[in-house]
Point group: C2
Chain length 300, copies 2
């Protein structure tokens, strides 16, 4: 399972009940937080997300609408008694800021906080079942995109064949990952008897805040779903470029050139009260586009 | 006019749609912000407060639930094109934090930001019509209370007598502050002919986060309205003391000893879903108590 839940889809100024950027990535049993604008902890509560299951937070860049909610989220996690480690991947200066904020509050977090400064493109988290990599995008300040990839997709369990071999449904999750089942009598039920190979692992790429730049295409090439920012409609391309942001048409062009399966767009400027035109314009270039709407989960 | 609008009334963890601490003080044409927990800029938008009229922000202490929303508020003010100066009164380390956050974002605010570190008790802002002073309260870290006082109260205009002397209602605001009116014919209408002396200026004191400490009594003695924290109900006095907070009964005792006219209570722990019991318990000690409820304006 790979899915993206939008917690905030607006650009710098909160407006029209749209919040600054944050996304929750669900990859099987793991939850990852991607950017953390002001109020993210309230959005997490609103959408009943189990914050204790978030162990990795990725921050694309140090403009406030992408990280001002981080310190509140981690101090609240501390107040709630979290003990398991938290890993933060972000531009280096964030570490000093967090340290200073904890120091002046005389706060000792009850959990280990591991800070991983982003330094070069490549894989930053690797696990048996997934990997996360980062790549540069092109904004006014240092800014990173992230790619989430299932290393191997789970196998498909055949409930009928599993029942024939008396494999209990409680073991299905382990079957998905290739394990054989051993019956009470000690007989082996080979995994391939009761499962089928799946298609390859799913992938999601997040391009953060960026000017239109085709260097991004290679990094997101062929992903199942791409999030690309569209701060402005296409008539404001000049403004977008000046501010190192993108328009609908530009985002959709990246999606098209990269041959992704699906595009979601967000980071809408607070000058727009309604969003329909964003969808219309992006679909003209890349038909399989959806708006990134708060509270909505996009399954891949 | 002196009034207090509650923007956030909860303690450290946002819960039950209650937000971290922030209050807006309206003193005649001036707006002051008192503490600025995460999400305050959204609360300001929700309650349709004219943020451009806020020129002074007071931060009691550097626990996050009292200031994590400040950097977002001031950077948003910059994005909205604010030009007039902003004055911030806060414990000294906040200055370094704001500077660091602006620096890493490569942000230059388009307005002057004047930082006034709180150092000793006494008057910190003085104006023709009001003054603001600070006093120490007793929390786990350096923490300040604030007192807002109208220096002289406006005179009471008698509409009947003003009409008799043909003073237009557009001049009433200036009558309130003691001006004489000069008619088109050049005749003087003496202020006292059409106004009456008022009672003395109104006052409001805010005790921030504090353990029960009677040293506070002198500072808030006789104010028209006192805000005092009540993080816990009275059965949790031991926990309150351990955490340098107060119970309902303790807050009401301070109000009683100080002979204030009215008490409002807030900073409720997130362990409480409902608040009725806070009001009941405080009123047992100090009857003229109200809960500080978000979105409500308490006129003095």
């Amino acid at each position: 399972m790979l899915a993206v839940t939008i917690l905030g889809n607006n650009s710098a100024l909160p407006a029209f009940d749209r919040h600054p950027t944050s996304q929750l990535i669900t990859m099987d049993e793991h939850l990852f937080l991607l950017d953390c604008g002001e109020g993210t902890q309230m959005q997490i509560a609103k959408y009943k997300i189990r914050r204790s299951k978030i162990n990795h937070i990725f921050i694309s860049h140090l403009h406030g609408d992408h990280y001002f909610g981080l310190i509140g989220l981690i101090t609240s996690m501390g107040l709630l008694g979290r003990v398991q480690p938290m890993h933060i991947y972000a531009p280096a200066p964030l570490k000093e800021m967090i340290s200073l904020q904890l120091k002046v509050a005389d706060t000792n977090l009850p959990f280990p906080l591991h800070f991983h400064p982003l330094q070069e493109e490549g894989v930053i988290v690797v696990d048996q079942k997934f990997e996360v990599s980062c790549f540069r995008v092109y904004h006014r300040i240092e800014c990173w995109g992230f790619k989430f990839r299932q290393i191997k997709a789970p196998r498909k369990v055949s409930p009928e064949r599993a029942r024939e071999h008396e494999v209990p449904s409680s073991f299905f999750e382990r079957l998905k990952w290739g394990e054989d089942y051993i019956t009470k009598q000690g007989d082996i039920v080979k995994n391939e008897w009761v499962t089928d190979a799946s298609s390859k692992g799913k992938s999601y790429a997040y391009s953060a805040d960026t000017i239109y730049d085709e260097r991004i295409v290679d990094h997101v090439s062929g992903v199942d779903m791409l999030y690309h920012e569209t701060t402005y409609l296409k008539d404001l391309e000049e403004r977008a470029t000046k501010r190192f942001h993108c328009t609908t048409a530009q985002a959709a062009t990246i999606a098209k050139k990269a041959g992704v399966k699906k595009l979601i767009i967000g980071h809408f400027s607070s000058k727009y009260e309604t969003l329909d035109q964003f969808e219309t314009e992006a679909k003209e270039v890349f038909p399989n586009t959806e708006l990134a709407l708060e509270g909505v989960t996009y399954r891949i």
